[in-house]
Symmetry: C2
Subunit: 226 residues, 2 copies
Amino acid sequence: MGYKSRVSDAVVRRLPMYYRHLRELEKAGVVRISSQELGERMNLTASQIRQDINCFGGFGQQGYGYHVSNLKERIGEILGLNHEYHVIIVGAGNIGRAVANYAGFAKEGFHIQAMFDVSPALVGIDVHGILVQPMDKLEAWLSAHKVDIAVLAVPASCAQEICDELVNGGVRAVWNFAPVDLNLPQGVAVNNVHLSDSLHILSYRMNEKELFEAIDAARNQDRNNP
Amino acid sequence: MGYKSRVSDAVVRRLPMYYRHLRELEKAGVVRISSQELGERMNLTASQIRQDINCFGGFGQQGYGYHVSNLKERIGEILGLNHEYHVIIVGAGNIGRAVANYAGFAKEGFHIQAMFDVSPALVGIDVHGILVQPMDKLEAWLSAHKVDIAVLAVPASCAQEICDELVNGGVRAVWNFAPVDLNLPQGVAVNNVHLSDSLHILSYRMNEKELFEAIDAARNQDRNNP
DNA sequence: TAGATTGTTAATCGATTAACAATC
DNA sequence: TAGATTGTTAATCGATTAACAATC
């Protein structure tokens, strides 16, 4: 109570950004920082930073500011980075393999235990020390092992179906790279990496000015020839 | 005029989602759809859909709704998907290669022309028909070719520096996979794919309930032992 | 025409910003 | 203590939702 029982998406999306900047500051040897200074660095207002942090408790000190390492550590805990996670990757295509090969995740406690794919061309290959298993071994794996996070890197067409299988198998969270909006039961977390959406947003932004010039021009013409 | 000269981020982020759903509907043979139906499908209110679309003009028809193919086409144009883009990839690591290997982008007009990397182990390899060139060839490439979009898939430590080089070389947009917030001049578009931020958000969400139980418990204890 | 559904204006809600008392 | 800066409440701003007249 007193603490909001649920934190808005806008705040949650900023948490990893805080974590990143605090880690950089710590590495640079900065010991303390005020919300003012952190805001300048991150292009946020000091007010917003204090509001965000106070969703989770008062980690600062009046007249002093925030202790960088301490705040970094607390935000790490808020993000759940003080835990270890069992991760599997479903789909051993480009994305699945790129995630498996990225060593940084293991350092943060995200341990990849297994990989699965339908393609006979991929089954049996070794990716960063993990053997790719056939998809029909997935169900058995899920009953035999506790899986915290499943990385879903399969084509859109089968993403929902496999997602259901993962949820039935007791997975607690799905990191979804398939270009679909998944349906999940309450209590299972999802986060999407929609690469092509991201590229489309980029292409929108690089063309926005011309787009509105065209829209305005058409509008003015309409006004003159009603 | 009349049209907002600038569209809010919240709206822009939904545009690719509309595009995706409309493409699916078109494929499924759906000819027309009302904002009501589309909203149910996408978990948005009908009102919001109509507001979003009307940022760019009235593409519907009273009493009928929206023509699926037509609306898809218009949103595609808004996203700039009616253009062709020259793309280069800087960084031939896991992510750079995964992007290069993804064939879907070329179909949408994003054509990868060149790849660059510092690592001698990667220079000279062929990725999906593209030869990886040494990084010191980047500047010359930029003066000799028009580059619309640069995919930045390099370590955080050198991302800003390379980004500056890209901007000086006339790149119009940067698709950034490095875990940093880049500084770019007005007029150059950026969009970030912060994979580790995304994973951190997932881990936050899967732990949120327990987190607040702990916070509340600590708070109650404080109240009893003031 | 009557019915349906948009485009658009007005009302509400939530997130951001400002202000300031509490306090280190 | 005086100065600085937080934690928190109040004011503002913007995004979402509701309502309804316009119109196909």
